[in-house]
Amino acid sequence: MTYDLIVVGAGPGGLLAAKTAAEQGLKVAVIEKRKDISKITRACCEQFIMDENYSGDTIEVLSDRIVFTKNGFDVSYDGPKKDIHDKYYISPGGKTIHFAYEDRRPIVVKFDKGRLLEGLMQECSQAGVRFFMGTVAFGAGDEEKGVEIAVMHDGHHEIMKARKLIAADGVNTGVGEALDINKGRRYFATALCIMYYLEGIGVYDPTAMKTYFGRSYKGLAPIMIGPSIESEEVGYVICTGNKQYPPPDIFNNVTTVGALAPEFQNAQLVKKVGCSIKTFSPLAVPWKGNTLFVGDAAAYVEVETQGALMCGYRAGHAVAEEIAGYGGFDAYTRWWQSSFEFLGEDFMRVAQGFALVPKYTDEELDFLFGLIEGERLEGTYNQYRSPKIMWDALFRHSEQIQAERPEVYEKMTGAQASLSDML
């Protein structure tokens, strides 16, 4: 059996692509390694970001659906939601920078991703999509007449065929590796991440996201603590490390010897989810031959859930148009390039800095964070705008910094300085 379209990956992007293509009359199959997609075991985006024009769209979260106002589609969702109004950056000595909107509207809305995916899967089935669950796609070949995908299911290898392929298999795209799509991309690093869900974290605030900066917390990257959708009492701690300083060691140090250790004295581990992220520069042209790379598979790190849904919706149409001879892949590429911030040069310059060892001492971070403690900085989830807003706020105190701490000012303005060095 040759399908019109095979989609690898039943995440938000893959499912919406499959549904959209099936509604256009295509014969579609989805290959997914997981048996039950409602159970999330990978650390991933489980929130809608309420920034205006985020990745080219402003979304509205309604009681029964999520509306993408600019792309012109919506996705059913009537599961639990939780508004997060505040975001805090905290220095080693507890000096706190506060991000929030003046009108207290939420910065992000947490949701139950397993439920969203289940709903999408049902809609796919109603549209005639065939599912191959518990099936790993580990190889792919692309020739003029179509694609062949090597799959593993219950210990057996098989070949599946389609005219077009959508690789929606995430940040470590195996399809991309098999089709050599990463050759032209710059590789930065592999980040290892575990998200620990705990009940009873001392500093846990069910309506706020907190990020702890500085060496005294014993992380590698800043330590993030935030709310879960599961219950009012359960929060998460994100430990991001690498092969030399892996997440289990980080978690152990953060909770037993770091500056936050007392906050974990009565905490009980509820569950763990993980993710390793091979970080590449984004694909400027996210297709090759008969294969379209959507969502994280083509991104710098991630497009978040709403970005994946947009990619899926656009990709479903793109494949139908490509098969009909209307250049759907090129149209998708134009939309992709105009929508995602990480395709801009400036973004990459900032983003690369996240991997740098912080050049400010804990005491210097206390001094700097203290300068703008008590101010309200504009609420945004955007990982690019947040440091920029913080940096602008700090520079409004440049006379004071110059007078009191000339050596810190030197670091902030020196030839090597960029706002990313702060983080």
Partner: protein, 60 residues
Amino acid sequence: MAVKIDTDVCVGCGCCSDVCTPGALELRETAEVNQAFCIECKQCIDMCPALAIRLPAAQE
């Protein structure tokens, strides 16, 4: 021989199977190795955030 997975430590994220080019890793409650296909390339070991995968001691 093949890699071994410590199922007590594995969080089931499936990142190991993302990079398994011979198609030896499947995902059930935790990752599972199909010994016949493992080529001991160790890519999965480098990808595991939980440090749940290793080669049996004699081969390290």
